[in-house]
Symmetry: C2
Subunit: 688 residues, 2 copies
């Protein structure tokens, strides 16, 4: 008998291929397919093992994944791109990831040509394995306030830096890849240069390449205290060895400072970088990648949830006694929760790639011509999108999980580990509430210049593309893209105006007092960009089937109806407009996409079964699979899972035997009048 | 040197005791203190072990906790109340919990006097350990649609039920306490009575007491397939052995059906229960306890976050170079996130207790006089509060965690396990989106009768207290309780009106189409109740210091500003009203509570240090403690933790040794030209 999923597909006619190509460029698809075909056959990638492991065991597993990836790279002659794709296809963040995407990238972008030549080959062959060490126990967001110092020592012909944490509060903390793996760290430290007779000059944070573990014994080097910081919330990042690293007067050569931009010459002459944001380049690169990634992981969650809600049935229609129960996907509360998430996921992927293209252009201009003109705009935009997409994707994944009812709370929904690994993205690469303020500052600056330009009768001040809407104001029919974009524009402009007003009317308040308003502004800015980019990408693609247009509308109207109070308060909309809008939005959700459409739209992601949750298998035979999946502990064979898990547990005895014995002990309590039952209990009782 | 927390306290003058008594009645405090004083000394309760364990290990630990609690109960002669308090004071949900709060309670409330006498003593001494088995693999919300049947067999003088799952989709699933522990299950099954010559009569779900494991061997009984369903999302409920149970024609005596209300006599005569909701009684009891519990766990998270944000400093004020950095609690975005959570936590605790009092009154009326008149109101109200408080507390805990920046993502924030255990509360005891509809239905019924009453010119239809606002409409100054309550009333009334309108104007739509609107209505109903109850409780308590009043205002204004679009759309407020309201709300958050106030308000919860996160210690020496906490794995002693964790791992070798070896293997890869390094890798390579 065909499953409900198969029936839904049979009734749909969507050209999935075109949609899939929109989400994943064919070139990238080739690459991803190649890697997936390989990983799919690897027993270590079995996603059903991971939920059974604790942090130490997960780390053990993820190190094995790292190792195996290196073997596979060699075996299959993977390119750097293919290897990185493979790294990203694990549910866990792997210890070697930061080596690839932070350590190597930063040496490349901020090292001089000699530094690149000297270090990169050894990094490529994993002789040097590195991490990025900025955050400290007592400092993260405030990079200027770091306690770690790099003091230049040029006495007696020496030409070295002394790296020092200055106490435990200056110990590096959260450093991914360094808990057990890395032997090098790129350390952010305050550059200090003693000036004879004039005290010590403090030149702000710079990057230094510092060896932390021996290349031969892999033991910490003298002066370095390093180790793993332990489990994280929700079991997140369990496969990543986040570390603390404390430096006690560790000496490195002067030439270990990355000097492509700022420079310290032998003897102490310092040359400043040309552009003050230039060293943020690598941060921008990381952030620019996040929106698309968020789209994909939200896509996994929503694929699982939609598929499961298509096969899940609960309650018969009143009057239809004895008939089939209703597929829960038909409930308004399910559509209202899941369809906007599908729309967000598409928007983040499609617009996220566009952002990366713009980043690449900027980076090329920077590296080839030293041209920094695009930096401020990309800097500000990547922050806005990082903030909005991490926020919404994380929120959305948990909504998707809950939409699966009880089974959503099983590891089999898959969402647990994706969410736990993703929620920290709101904090790393800059805490969202902290960095949102930078976008807001940029926007305030534009507004000021706009006002000034108007005042002296000059030619209109030209706004960067993402802020062009500040000139706009219009209104008409709700599904018209220009209406929608003008509403989103008005909203962002209104929030900006309100912030400017608050600042100008209460000069006694400090910037500290506005950090909530700046967050709202930053999000509004990002949401406008996402909607308009998504619209414009689709307008040039007549080959894409209509349901994807419906997704853009859902994305936009969801955003607008979630911010109705801004639009009503600013009198952009009247109360009856708002009611109409909500009505139109409800109508699109309830009628705009058929169940077969949404099945196709999730199929179009192209996820393999091992990438989504057990609840989200493509075929839809959920209950049989769930049943199978729980049998192995009770002695049924089930694909050798007992052995696979035991491999990680490393115990002499099956832990479930111990668990059962313990249970019998509890049960036996009454029998023995409260006396202990077995050895374990006897020992514990002795401690009484 | 005093910490920032100590300084904040020194500058405060609040009478913490009065506030603490408001949160925790002195009688309960005595009891909790007694239990806490004992548990505090128990090594097993050390909360810093738990994050290091996987599901099996957590279960091992929680079973030991269960066992130890039984020992302690005996040793200290704990009352039932004290024992239950102790059960609830563990971070993990314990396997014996459902035995206490579901199994025993339900037998008491739904068993006949003989059934009580026959079973309860054996339950009390843990000879019978039970679970509550309602949900099935394919059915949860729809109890009427359960597949498990209890078929009465009275042929040949037999007088038995045959319990059968009817296939794996009818297997019980999620059954807490039964994975390894319980030997009895209270099974919801569809009662079927064959009527000679007239087929089989189906009488809907009833409860049956079914033995599942042998009282002597503790092995599953014939016809029973039972086991643990495996890890849950986020590592939640790791200490609970949620189970599947499949029944294949298991026979039990007729007298094992709970028959206080509905009855099946020997031979098959069936007597219906008097009130159709009567068997939900125990569900109502569970739900009525949830709001207060949610308040306490949110309170832990917010205590940790506020304390940490008082000691956490980041950035100097512009212009104040070299000065102290700002305590992050002073940032608007921190106040806007944390203070409303503090207010919610107080509201949930105080009003949640009030709800339980009303439940107790109802229950007394029911049990002593068979009086069911209060049932519908308490049923509907407990749903509304369950929905709103689980939703907000869960959302709030994660907000609190993120407000702690990077360290919030460490297990040391404590929030991870609280949140992971709590988020499922939105699903169990009835999925929020499903049960919200019942409150909405009830309200629609009231509205209808209100209209009818008006139409025939009768005396006004009398509304139950929680819905009294439907008659109201007024407006005035924003901090006046009557204004606030009338705004919240108008909002709920507006949502109800809109829903009624939508139903009446589109008769072609089904109830299915309204499940999103009903959720919003249910929340609005609950939020009005919470605000008004909180106000009225405080109005009779002049001894409570003013900052608690400020919390009620924050709770109310937070709710109102979060639902401004409803109030604007309904034209209850004008745009300029809305701006004013937001202004007032911002002002209260920024100026209404001093840092010393919020420290006192969190101190007033009375949490011990082991109950809150490491980041939330009372003294505020966070960094030293964090540093200590990460040393043990690297061989430093640190309170014998290595041994404590190893006890659960049960391996011959320290797992961290294996982890380090694995890391060395990865590092060695380049050296050996890609050859394998150690035994483990050699084995894996062989599988290539
Ligand atoms: C999983 C994970 C992996 C990481 N990996 C690395 C790594 O590999 N290398 C590395 O160097 N670091 C890493 N980090 C650290 C991360 O970059 C920092 O945690 C992050 O930048 C936030 O800084 P913080 O922890 O100091 O937060 P804080 O700044 O201390 O934030 C605490 C609170 O104060 C608020 N706050 C602070 N300043 C302001 C302000 N000016 N205005 C308003 N509110 C403010 C924040 O919003 C937050 O609520 C990682 C972190 C995590 C969670
Ligand atoms: C940690 C945990 C512990 C548990 N412990 C126990 C236990 O000890 N004993 C026990 O018997 N059970 C237990 N349960 C099961 C729990 O009671 C059910 O999971 C819960 O009632 C939800 O039912 P469901 O899983 O069938 O969800 P479903 O009803 O299948 O929900 C799936 C989706 O459909 C939607 N939906 C369903 N019906 C409607 C409708 N009419 N209108 C709109 N939307 C609808 C839901 O909102 C949800 O989005 C536990 C569950 C968990 C997570």
């Amino acid at each position: 008998m065909p499953t409900d999923l198969e029936l839904a597909r049979a009734s749909g006619q969507l050209d999935i291929k075109a949609i899939h190509d929109l989400l994943l460029l064919p070139s990238r698809k080739l690459l991803r397919d190649k890697v997936q075909n390989t990983l799919e056959k690897e027993p270590l990638w079995d996603p059903t093992i991971r939920p059974h492991l604790n942090q130490a065991q997960s780390l053990l597993r993820s190190l094995r994944l790292c190792y195996r990836l290196l073997q596979l790279r060699k075996l299959h002659n993977w390119s750097q791109e293919e290897y990185r794709e493979a790294l990203s296809l694990s549910d866990d963040k792997l210890p070697t990831t930061l080596h690839e995407i932070a350590f190597i990238n930063i040496i490349y972008s901020q090292g001089t040509n000699e530094q690149r030549e000297q270090w990169l080959p050894r990094c490529q062959r994993l002789e040097f394995v590195g991490c990025y060490a900025q955050t400290e126990l007592a400092h993260g967001s405030n990079v200027q306030g770091l306690l770690t110092t790099a003091t230049y020592d040029y006495e007696d012909g020496r030409d070295e830096f002394i790296i020092d944490s200055g106490g435990i509060e200056g110990a590096k903390w959260w450093i991914g890849g360094a808990g057990v793996l890395a032997n090098f760290a790129l350390v952010q430290a305050i550059l200090k240069v003693p000036r004879r007779g004039e005290g010590v000059e403090s030149l702000g944070p710079h990057l230094f390449l510092v060896p932390i573990r021996s290349l031969t014994t892999h033991l910490p080097l003298p002066g370095v205290t390093v180790g793993d910081i332990g489990p994280k919330a929700y079991g997140g990042f369990a496969g990543m060895d986040n570390a603390y690293i404390k430096f006690d007067n560790v000496r490195i050569p002067r030439t270990n400072m990355l000097m492509r931009f700022a420079e310290l010459a032998r003897g102490g002459k310092y040359t400043k970088a040309k552009h003050d944001k230039i060293s943020y380049g690598s941060m921008v690169a990381m952030r620019a990648r996040m929106p698309e990634n968020m789209g994909w992981v939200l896509g996994k969650a929503v694929t699982t949830a939609i598929r499961y809600c298509v096969i899940r049935r609960q309650f018969t229609s009143p009057g239809e006694l004895g008939g089939n129960e209703i597929q829960v996907i038909y409930y308004a509360s399910v559509k209202h929760r899941l369809f906007p998430l599908l729309a967000q996921s598409y928007a983040f992927i499609v617009c996220g790639r566009e952002l990366q293209n713009r980043y690449t252009q900027m980076q090329e201009a920077l590296v080839s011509r030293g041209d920094t003109s695009m930096l401020p705009e990309i800097h500000s935009l990547s922050i806005a999108l990082k903030v909005a997409t991490t926020n919404d994707a994380v929120k959305g994944m948990e909504v998707a999980r809950r939409a699966m009812g009880g089974h959503g709370f099983s590891w089999m929904s898959g969402v647990g580990v994706w969410w736990a690994n993703s929620t920290a993205s709101q904090t790393y690469e800059g805490d969202n509430y902290v960095i949102a303020q930078q976008t807001a500052r940029g926007l305030l600056k534009h507004l000021q210049r706009l006002h000034q330009a108007k005042a002296v009768g000059e030619k209109d001040y030209e706004l960067p593309p993402s802020s062009g809407y500040l000139n706009l104001a219009a209104r008409s029919f709700w599904l018209n893209p220009s209406v929608i974009l003008s509403l989103l524009s008005s909203r962002a402009a209104y929030l900006l105006g309100q912030l400017a007003l608050a600042i100008s009317t209460s000069p006694q308040k400090s910037w500290t007092d506005h950090s909530f308003a700046t967050f709202a502004l930053c999000r509004a800015h990002a949401e406008l960009y996402l909607a308009s980019t998504f619209f414009s990408i689709l307008s040039s693609r007549p080959d894409i089937p209509p349901p994807v247009y419906t997704l853009v509308l859902i994305y936009s109207l969801h955003t607008i109806t979630s911010s109705l109070s801004d639009l009503l308060e600013s009198e952009t909309l009247t109360p009856s407009n708002a009611r109409e809008l909500r009505y139109v939005y409800d109508w699109i959700l309830m009628e705009g996409l058929s169940v077969s459409d949404v099945v196709s739209l999730t199929d179009a992601f192209g996820f393999r079964d091992w990438e989504v949750g057990v609840l989200g298998g493509k075929e839809g035979r959920v209950y049989e699979q769930m049943w199978d999946e729980v049998q192995w502990r009770e002695g049924k064979e089930g694909r050798g899972k007992r052995e696979k898990v035991a491999e990680f547990e490393g115990g002499q005895r099956d832990i479930w035997e111990r668990v059962r014995e313990e249970a019998r002990g509890v049960l036996g309590f009454w029998k023995e009048g409260g006396e202990v039952q077995n050895e374990g209990e006897r020992k514990r009782a002795a401690k009484l």
